[in-house]
């Protein structure tokens, strides 16, 4: 197991290296001209040219990449062009915020979706199953700016029971923080529920019908043991992978929810960086998101190995 995890961590470093090259390559083909974007469309061209020279965006990509990499190694992530502040502390603060939001979302979503998926699978084709399958798909097909605005209108303005801005006042207690997170978390759950629910339900149905389940049942094991040790364990394998991949997405893809609920996290930061071609910021954000994404996958892989012992002992098939 230690060897397995160790190998995974090494691979994580590899992923980050690949990602950093990719990020740097991509940021140099983004549409738009850095200084033009910084100075605005109505700034004179010679000022734009001068700023580009000053920022060094006119130098070869390889040199800039090497310099940046050396900086990163020394803990210097550069300065944001647009905000004129150090990238690293800004990214760190935003990452923490988004992790809180994504974590809260997952904490509600995962148990809910898995429990519903298991319940639906055990009564496949039943009323609960049909209604939830249909409704969740329909709601999940709505973009978050529709569900989000609906939540804000109902709970924030008409009923006026919940704050519509997710960022709590400074020095707020945990209860206040939680109250501020209710609406964005609700929005996330509505958006993501269908996916996890259907994934769990589908795997669960397959696992219930699988040979090992029948074997276990025929061996005379108690139903509870069959469900917990055999069915659920196998059924959750694809779900675990999906959740692992989901963490990275959640953290980087929260742009709309963050914008709608005025919660400046890493999602809105990377979106800002991309549209303003703020390369140090974009690179920093991407790196942070890749890191979280890779960690999420690592956790999923480890959990997967725990659930499925055959994997961690290496390949056996051929």
């Amino acid at each position: 197991m230690v060897r397995f995890v160790g190998r995974r961590v090494l691979l994580l470093a590899f992923t980050l290296a690949v990602a950093s090259v990719l990020i740097f390559a991509i940021t140099n083909v983004l549409p738009g001209d850095v200084a033009r974007i910084i100075l605005g469309p109505f700034a004179p061209q010679d000022a734009v040219t001068r700023l580009n020279a000053e920022l060094g965006t006119d130098r070869p990509v390889v040199i800039r990449y090497a310099e940046w990499l050396a900086g990163v190694a020394q803990g210097d992530w550069g300065r944001s062009y647009a905000f004129n502040t150090a990238v690293f502390p800004l990214v760190l603060e935003r990452l923490g915020r988004s992790l809180l939001l994504a974590g809260s979302g997952l904490a509600v979503l995962v148990p809910l979706a898995i429990a519903s998926g298991v319940a639906a699978a055990r009564r496949e084709g039943g009323l609960f199953d049909r209604v939830l399958s249909t409704v969740s798909l329909a709601v999940g097909a709505l973009p978050e700016f529709v569900t989000g605005v609906f939540l804000i209108l109902v709970f924030g303005i008409w009923l006026a029971v919940l704050p519509i801005q997710a960022l709590p006042p400074e020095g707020a207690g945990p209860l206040t923080v939680a109250a501020h997170l209710v609406l964005p978390v609700g929005c996330l759950v509505l958006l993501l529920f269908a996916y996890l629910f259907r994934m769990t339900r589908a795997s669960m149905i397959e696992a219930l019908a699988a040979d090992y389940t029948r074997t276990a049942t025929l061996k005379g094991l108690p139903p509870r043991t069959v469900i917990w040790r055999h069915v659920l364990r196998n059924a959750l394998l694809p779900t675990v992978t999906v959740i692992g991949a989901q963490i990275g997405w959640l953290v980087g893809g929260l742009v709309v929810v963050e914008t709608l609920f005025k919660y400046p996290g890493i999602g809105s930061l990377i979106h800002f960086a991309a549209t303003n071609k703020d390369i140090p910021l974009l690179v920093g954000c991407s790196l942070a998101i890749t890191f979280v994404f890779a960690l999420g996958n690592l956790a999923a892989d480890v959990l997967y190995a725990v659930l499925n012992p055959r994997v961690r002992h290496g390949r056996n098939a051929h």
């Binding site: 004129n84 914008t259 709608l260």
Partner: protein, 526 residues
Amino acid sequence: MVQRTDGKFPATGTSRRRFLAQFLAGTSALALASAFAGAAPLSSAFAQAPAPKRGGSLKVAVPAATTIDPVKLNSSGGIAIVQQAAEYLVYAEPDLTLRPVLATSWEPSEGGKVWTFALRQGVKFHDGRPMTADDVVASFQRLVDPANASPAAGAMPFLKKEGVAKVDQYTVRFTLDRPIGTFPNFTHTYNCVILPADYAGNFAEKPIGTGPFKLVSYRPQEGATFERNPDYWDAPKPYLDRLEIQTFESPQPMVLALQSGDVQVVQQLSYIDAQGVRNAPGIALIQADAADHRQLCMRTDTKPFDDKRVRQAVALCFDRPTMVRGLLGGLADVANDHPIAPIYPEKIEIAQRQANVQQAQQLLAAAGYPQGFPIDLYTHQYLELPQFAALAQQMLAPAGIKVNLKVEPTNLYYNHWTEVSFGLTDWTSRPVAAQILAQSFRSTAEWNAAHWKNPQFDEMLAKFEAEPDVETRSKIGNDMAALLNDEAPAVIAYFNKNLRASRSTVKNLTGSMSNYLDLTQVWVEA
């Protein structure tokens, strides 16, 4: 799976900043009586003013901010934040007259080539030091120094570093390359706030100005908090004790925050976004005349628009009163294919071009396009531009012009907007008409998207820029407007109005031609 949503709010950082005028002249706050019938009580400059009350706090929603270094500043949010902590020499009133702020008077000499400003005495920076001519000279030299790449340098190409000089402790002299009749208006360009002579480019860390409020904290993508400046030169102003400016990446959450009471003022909002609050109880809408407009530019150096008759035909297809009503609910003034808006002091009186498809067809036939022609129309995803483009497609169809729409992301469009043969661009208000004429229609202008070169026009423009007398400027302006109207390098169908919204507890808030935010006289009802 959530990733699909990125970019739903396209190019907020860049496009939002364009919302704000590049330069300011003045404002006019008018009640939205006719357009928004049944609107909530309006706060207006003309309302019967009860005595202002001291104290209280205010939260203001503004669009996204990038840097708040005044020298590099260009985002709407950034400008609104800086304007609370630092001040200009002059401030343009709603009727475009200039109110003395850090300057008390100004005087031209040598036919408008030299301008001498007398400074206000007894003004203190937030760190207690007095504001003197040294600070003003250093501030302007910093702005026009090419090394600093300030947008202000582009706004004032006629001012060089050597042209800014101290006369005495409270007098500053500007020597320009050529006479500029309206130079004081240019000192109101959004970058031109007066900072201490030793300012080092770190406004976010060390925000020292002379403004009514002191900047306490600034956080990227969140906003800024301010406290009252007790030593403000114009006592007993300001009335507010505390001020918070929140930046928003997209307009909808701003409006929702106003509705829920999380903010009391939305500094600027588009016509479409304003509809959400136009009939809301307890919310006031403030309308300001502006010179903002859209230019539908036609490349005069390539087919099919190299023929004046084709451009005239395009201009004849637009039913302007219908556009004003349909696209902007009447919140705009019909325009006549020149950018000299009615808000400017120069009065233009040339015949209004009316829609006439038949005449357009005749002109097209004469130019060799009896069946019309297909053309790509480029614009970007911002404000009412996509709707304008869809409308252009419909209005040009009867003349046989088959428009294919290319609605691009803002960043992409601004990479080639001066290259496309048929492009629709948003232009914000400038402090003086001369500036917008020079930037968009002078032969040598970088943003002359129509590539229109007319020596006669250039000659008139040079006179117009130098002329200090309004009557004479109106005469030249009329000639230029007539020339633009006849040559039609661009269709300018209307001048937009600027909108601002507030809770009705907020008093004395005015609109602005350039969406500038002046909170010195604003107070709140408990």
